[in-house]
């Protein structure tokens, strides 16, 4: 490649008006050994770009299919929550029923003893009757 052409390209290169192909030509020119002395100061620049292009990533990316655990965990959590709420509710219901039964038997007992107490009061009326027989009030 003639020198004038390279100089021309360099000029354009620093104005960033070169095409990718022209830049590749420049890179090719500067990567060879016989570079014109007055252009040698540009050589490290292109050398550097070539070096940088050679860098490669060495780490392998672990691409385990990341399972969507979160989704299933949330489904399970919702399930547990609803069942526990349901059981809780059911328990409450049962407790209330139990308490009601207990209350009913107690009240039955109370009414039973009240009734027996009340039946004794009947004798009091007897007493009243007999006194009426003895002390006759004037109103009668």
């Amino acid at each position: 490649m003639e020198l004038a052409n390279i100089e021309n390209l360099l000029e354009k290169y620093f104005e960033a008006t070169t095409t990718v192909q022209e830049e590749q030509e420049l890179q090719a020119y500067f990567s060879q050994d016989n570079v014109a002395p007055h252009l040698q100061e540009y050589q490290p620049m292109f050398q550097c770009f070539t070096n940088l292009k050679a860098e490669t990533s060495t780490r392998n990316v672990p691409l385990q299919p990341r399972k969507n655990y979160l989704k299933w965990i949330s489904v399970a959590a919702v399930f547990v929550l609803t069942t526990s709420l349901f059981i809780n509710e059911w328990n409450k219901q049962r407790q209330a029923e139990e308490a009601f039964e207990y209350f009913k038997t107690t009240m039955a007992l109370v009414s039973q003893s009240f009734n027996s107490g009340a039946s004794h009061i009947n004798y009091l009326t007897q007493f009243e009757e007999t006194t009426n027989k003895i002390f006759k009030t004037e109103n009668n």
Partner: protein
């Protein structure tokens, strides 16, 4: 999309992602992390990949954004990037001469460039993207990219010439 298909689409540009990340984050480890992160994200969105007409540009954009976020958070936390690939400064004269070699000097100059120019010069001069492809990644119009690229190249040249004239500073 199966794992094999995914790897088939992704592997051709994995190194490009890595190099872009490396340019921005400097550290090898950080760049590997970034690449891995971006690929994992792509993998988790693999069902949507077919819908993108240019997966490579999309992945490059993701890498760019990831790295810039990383840098921003580092700056906000007032932390310097920690990287283990430091060069040993106190070695023999031979090594020192090598170290002062202009090629690594260019590398150092590139690290001084602002992020935007770093990305553009990486994409253009290292990966040889054309302007339309760069435009997709950096979200700028081609004229602005051309200006930034020219500026970056001229900056490198100017620094190189400075060094050439003054010798080892």
């Amino acid at each position: 999309m199966k794992q094999a298909d995914f790897l088939h689409t992704v592997l051709p540009f994995k190194d490009k992602l890595y190099r872009l990340a490396k340019r921005l984050l400097v550290s090898n480890e950080e760049a590997e992390d970034a690449t891995q992160e971006v690929l994992m994200k792509l993998w988790s969105k693999k069902s949507k990949i077919e819908a993108y007409n240019n997966v490579e540009a999309f992945a490059m954009t993701m890498t760019k954004n990831y790295c810039l976020d990383k840098l921003k958070s580092k700056q906000a936390g007032n932390l310097k990037l920690v990287h283990s690939n430091y060069k040993d400064e106190n070695t023999s004269l031979q090594k020192e001469v090598e170290l002062r070699d202009s090629v690594s000097f260019v590398h150092e100059i590139m690290e001084e460039l602002p992020e935007q120019q770093k990305i553009i010069i990486q994409l253009r001069d290292v990966e040889q993207y054309d302007f339309e492809e760069i435009a997709k990644v950096v979200d700028m119009n081609p004229t602005a990219i051309r200006v930034a690229l020219s500026r970056a190249r001229k900056y490198i040249r100017q620094e190189l010439i400075k060094k050439h004239n003054y010798g080892v500073s």
